[in-house]
């Protein structure tokens, strides 16, 4: 059994729920077939199992070190990076002409799932590099691509995204790092960035920082922000690294989890000589970065889902193996104790995890499918739906992944709390996810304040259409009667309240409405994942070669979701509908 993901589940999601093979009808993916997808996934799984998983705990126990001059990471990280790079995965999504493999987003997402489950901290280096490379590919000038993109694709250079500053996190419009034009057309940067993942390391020859900064005299706020490429080492015409740029590691940060990834404070231009190259047009920095961030956000959702998944599998195996106690009806101490999975309360904790993590994985794969439909299939509506769902894809797994890990710890009891077992690390690693790439709160504001109403609210309409298709199919299965009915009856209050919240925003009650934005984000997450559970259950019933237990597992998790999770959302909807002001009315002085 793989420790990373249930193979049968992943295959079911890819092949049955998200019809991977149908993607080969798109011209961009025409060279692929089912067999090639399987081979690619096998390669990813193998690298993840042999070069990422084995040092997950070691990288956690041996954080990167900084002696004032150099950073050292454990050597396994570099080996893992090399294997990842050699496999071609760094550029896999790109076109053949750019040295890529035109791999569908769906398959790429599934490959990443293995790495996230195996070792999220080491996986952060290649994932950040891919994301940074995508921005350079989309917005940088040819010469910049030549100098930086190819070495990033081949694994010689790594990439980072440098937005956050010591005094500016969520409110990026306030950032202060300065850029001054230089005679040769480049810029000189000055300022400090904080929490920059992979900001320094000893893994690659060079590091390409994508830095957000303000050009001298630029307007205040978001419109004054530009993006710069700032390499650790300058690169000559032949692509060789030359002198050290004036970017200095001020120090490493020491984290709760994700310890294998360096978290850095970086000083740009302490000597006044930090060379940066403007990407695209001045003033567009944040919108360029959002391209990367939207992808990165889906990536965060996936990481959260997979760390949750890993904990689920660990706790499931433990529960089958750990003898403790007897059935409530058995008082005979001479009988053998049962495995703890025989206790209903333990099964509750496992089923809940299953509902969160398999639901989260389905959600991330849906996002990837939408990317394919939009980018390779030219389906504009899929793009609109993806825009709407992105905050949910980031946030639902980030919120429920750590909850799943919390339950995994509980299943193991004392063993869950000690470092000899992997689940406490899962929890610590996963706890990052609601914080970075836009906090949970910021995602809530983005969803309720912006995303819902973009494209004249079309995203929501498209979502409902898809839900309706699922409901129509699911209704045909008598096994799903109750589950469908519960979902259907919950749908109406969701719609009415959403419309009312929109009206309330329109009538100028922004503060009142947005006060509960993250509650709304959670509600929406439950409706979307509930829909996916219906879809999974219904598709599982329709496919006849699945193992009976597998189908029953999907049905039961869907049942659990509608009976226990969705009613929570309904309750919260009632509070929102009543215009609840508990949080708004709480005065700072009372706290």
């Amino acid at each position: 059994m793989s420790k990373l993901v249930q193979q049968q589940d992943l295959e079911f999601l890819l092949n049955t729920v998200f019809s991977a093979e149908a993607l080969t009808q798109y011209e961009r993916y025409a060279d692929y077939d089912q067999e090639a997808f399987t081979s690619v996934l096998d390669t990813a799984r193998r690298i993840a199992e042999t070069h990422f998983l084995p040092h997950n705990a070691k990288a956690d126990a041996h954080e990167p070190q900084f002696d004032g001059e150099h950073v050292t990471t454990i050597p396994e990280v570099k080996t893992a990076w090399q294997h990842y790079a050699e496999s071609g995965l760094l550029s896999a999504r790109h076109g053949y002409a750019d040295g890529g493999m035109q791999l569908p987003a769906l398959i790429s997402m599934a490959c990443n799932a293995y790495f996230m489950a195996a070792n999220p901290a080491t996986a952060a280096y290649p994932f950040l590099t891919s994301a940074a490379a995508n921005v350079i590919h989309a917005f940088a000038a040819e010469a910049q691509k030549h100098a930086f993109l190819e070495p990033m694709f081949s694994g010689r250079f790594a990439g980072t995204m440098a937005l956050t500053e010591p005094d500016v996190g969520s409110s990026l419009g306030d950032l202060t790092t300065k850029a001054t034009p230089h005679d040769d057309g480049s810029y000189r940067l000055k300022g400090q960035k904080m929490y920059i993942s992979g900001g320094d390391q000893d893994i690659t020859e060079n590091i390409v920082h994508l830095v957000l900064a303000r050009i001298e005299g630029a307007p205040a706020g978001v419109k004054g922000i530009s993006m710069f490429i700032v390499p650790k080492f300058l690169v000559d015409e032949q692509g060789q690294c030359t002198e050290r740029n004036d970017v200095k590691l001020a120090g490493l940060l020491h984290k709760m989890g994700y310890r294998g990834t360096t978290s850095t404070v970086l000083s740009f231009g302490e000597q006044g000589a930090c060379v940066g190259y403007l990407v695209g047009e001045a003033g567009h920095g944040l919108s360029y970065m959002f391209k990367m961030m939207n992808e990165a956000r889906v990536g965060v959702g996936l990481g959260a889902a997979m760390i949750g998944y890993r904990g689920y599998l660990e706790s499931l195996a433990y529960a089958k193996d750990r003898p403790q106690g007897r059935r409530a009806t058995n008082r005979d101490p001479a009988t053998k104790p049962v495995a703890i999975i025989e206790h209903a309360d333990v099964r509750r904790m496992l089923l809940q995890q299953k509902a969160y993590v398999e639901g989260s994985l389905a959600l991330c794969l849906l996002a990837a499918r939408l990317v394919d439909e939009h980018e390779a299939g030219g389906n504009a509506e899929s793009g609109i739906l993806l825009d709407l769902l992105t905050p949910v894809v980031k946030s639902y797994p980030s919120f429920y992944g750590p909850r799943a890990n919390d339950l995994a710890i509980q299943v193991l009891g004392g063993a869950g709390y000690i470092r000899e077992y992997p689940v406490e690390q899962c929890y610590r690693d996963n706890r990052l996810n609601p914080i970075h790439e836009g906090t949970h709160g910021i995602q809530g504001l983005d969803l309720l304040g912006r995303k819902l109403w973009q494209h004249e609210g079309k995203g929501l309409k498209l979502l409902l259409e898809r839900i309706q298709v699922t409901l129509n199919a699911a209704t045909k299965h008598s096994e799903l009667r109750e589950t469908v009915a519960l979902y259907q009856s919950a749908l109406k209050p969701f719609m009415t309240t959403t419309v009312e919240l929109g009206q309330s925003l329109l009538s100028g009650k922004a503060e009142e409405t947005l006060a509960n934005a993250s509650v709304y984000l959670d509600i929406m997450g439950k409706y979307v994942v509930g829909w996916l559970w219906l879809e999974m259950a219904s598709k599982a019933l329709e496919q006849d070669d699945l193992a009976a237990e597998f189908v029953q597992g999907k049905l039961q998790a869907a049942r659990y979701f509608m009976r226990w999770e969705l009613p929570e959302a309904e309750l919260h909807l009632k509070r929102l509908q009543a215009g609840d002001d508990t949080f708004l009315a709480t005065k700072p002085e009372w706290l």
């Binding site: 193979q7 049968q8 067999e35 090639a36 399987t38 081979s39 690619v40 096998d42 390669t43 699945l546």
Partner: protein
Amino acid sequence: MKILVAVKRVIDYNVKVRVKADQSDVDLSNVKMALNPFCEIAVEEAVRLKEKGVAEEVVVVSIGPKACQEQIRTALALGADRGIHVESDVAPDSLAVAKILNKIVAEEAPQLVILGKQSIDSDNNQTGQMLAALADMPQGTFASEVVVDGDKVQVTREVDGGLQTVELTLPAIVTTDLRLNEPRYASLPNIMKAKRKPLGVKTPDELGVSIDSKVSVLKVEAPAERSAGVKVADIAELVEKLKNEAKVL
């Protein structure tokens, strides 16, 4: 020099194997299949010999249902040049496989034939040896090192007492042991390139081989469940248990 590598499609080593309810066989419905790990090592060795300039061409052959072509493609993605699929919906036994391979050897005239020492599904460890007898070629089995030197090949064999090195005159048969090499995985570009490499299909009939088996499987049983371990207080108790309960001392 041309190298022929025989590869087998088997149940993936990660899969928890289940026996069919009627005990007629292992349940293969809807389980993940893969290249037999020993065969993967055989492919790797051949590809390395090619990379070293020792071999010019690596041909892989697999016998079985159409789905075997997946494993041939895997071998092509690992660096083999050409595939031969001998299509047969009946699973042939070792002797039938050896007979078919013998025909392919006659047609292809390879200097070296590399096989896995056994397949992880049936664990017979005999196909290579049978092929050597049929093709009248010398054999170096359980190889942990293979060095080609002119018209000779030196094979270091993993035997019970340690290592034995034999020298064979080419053409020869080599079967691989686990420590021979660490196989690579297929990179994405190579997976896509493999799709364009030639893959020919033949049937046992065309080769004039009957695959009727002289061996029939009577019954397949799952191994007994491992019983839970016990903690012993001290060495004395351990020795006592090993003597009287496990009866191994």
